[in-house]
Symmetry: C2
Subunit: 231 residues, 2 copies
């Protein structure tokens, strides 16, 4: 039985590649923006897990900017600090996937239904800072679907370290096995499984970018809208 649906944010509810909206004015459209995004996103995770490895922590938005600076260097692009700040702002304006709002709407309705188990909650479990996550979700009108935002900064460890998954269980006073993580990121599924959660892997498309990790999620769905099927 799933009592809590815990959603990953980046790449699961919002499309991180939509930050390329700021590329035309940044001379990045001249180069391969797909390859640029791949390097940047991969480096973000690498730095997050580097910090996990040496037991240090810094806010995800700072780490993300360092990963951006590395990526710019690799792609021989020079930006001044004002231009880099525009990237920071753009991270608060990422587009939701088309199925995110529709799916969340259905889940909210079923939750508000009178004969529904009131203990069910929708929460966010993100490596991003809670203030920024709150702002991003508000900007794109998704904030109202969620009861809580749990952020890596509270435990000073990045997913897939077990601390953040466990935190949700402790704060909500629900067994970790009654929480299902919803994520498009296989490494996140792996972390949630290690921590004892149920797992729903949202696999929208692009099998090319799926990690080469030997992981089996409890549920594999192709959209947030399909989540209603498993409840």
């Amino acid at each position: 039985m799933i009592k809590i649906l815990a959603f990953d944010l980046f790449g699961t509810l919002v499309d991180t590649s939509s930050i390329s909206k700021v590329f035309p004015e940044r001379n990045i459209s001249k180069i391969n923006s797909k390859s640029f995004m791949e390097t940047w996103q991969s480096k973000q995770l690498q730095y997050a897990w580097f910090l996990n490895s040496i037991n240090k922590f810094e806010p995800f938005s700072d780490l993300s900017i360092r990963a951006l600076k590395f990526t710019l260097k690799i792609h021989s692009i020079e930006l001044n600090s004002d231009q880099i700040d525009r990237f920071r702002e753009a991270q608060l304006q990422l587009d939701p996937f088309p199925d995110s709002k529709k799916g969340l709407e259905v889940l909210l309705k079923s939750k508000n239904n009178a004969d529904y188990n009131n203990s069910r909650k929708l929460v966010i479990l993100s490596n991003g800072e809670s203030v920024k996550t709150d702002k991003l979700l508000s900007n794109i009108s998704l904030r109202r679907y969620f009861d809580h935002i749990f952020s890596a900064e509270e435990v000073r460890k990045y997913k897939p370290a077990k601390e953040l998954y466990i935190l949700a269980s402790e704060r909500l006073n629900i067994s970790v096995s009654e929480i299902a993580l919803v994520s498009s990121n296989l490494w996140d599924i792996a972390g949630a499984q290690s921590a004892g959660m149920q797992t729903c892997w949202i696999n929208r498309k692009d099998k090319k970018t799926n990690e080469e990790l030997d992981i089996k999620a409890d549920y594999v769905l192709s959209s947030i809208e399909d989540l209603k099927q498993i409840l």
Copy 2:
């Protein structure tokens, strides 16, 4: 005082990009081999630190092949299992940097000198498996310079986790502060510093690929040959 010089292997003593020797027969020369290597190497670290984050371990050569498969997928290259095995073999035939042997030769001579403190040792501290590290070093005639090989598999944690740096100190019965890590990888320098080691960053060239990490090594040298200056 530096009593032990602990060398990183990949990218510090051997040139990992020399694996591109196998590229012509693999159709990889058609694509950008630099970008291919960047994705592969970055993914190797990412997977290593992913495993650190969830407290799991697998041998580096297996992890490296998974990172290779991901990289092939991203670059739309199909290889059969025989061709992938050729990559495994090629990893045991990487070229040393031109200054590696010259520098190690000088250090060995100074070590064998009669008026020299006999406690000084040269060791390897690598994320690679010890058997494979031994073989690679033998294949390129570098094995004889080293008294010990310390490998991530012994502690089941990858650098920059502190366990491997500490292991060297415990096994050699030398204070961790009397060991200097020699590495071209800034993340490795960061780990060694966190564990309490002295650090020598070998920064040969290509500042473009230097990590965006705010780290100051105790010594910054441009080749292995320059190590004699700090002893």
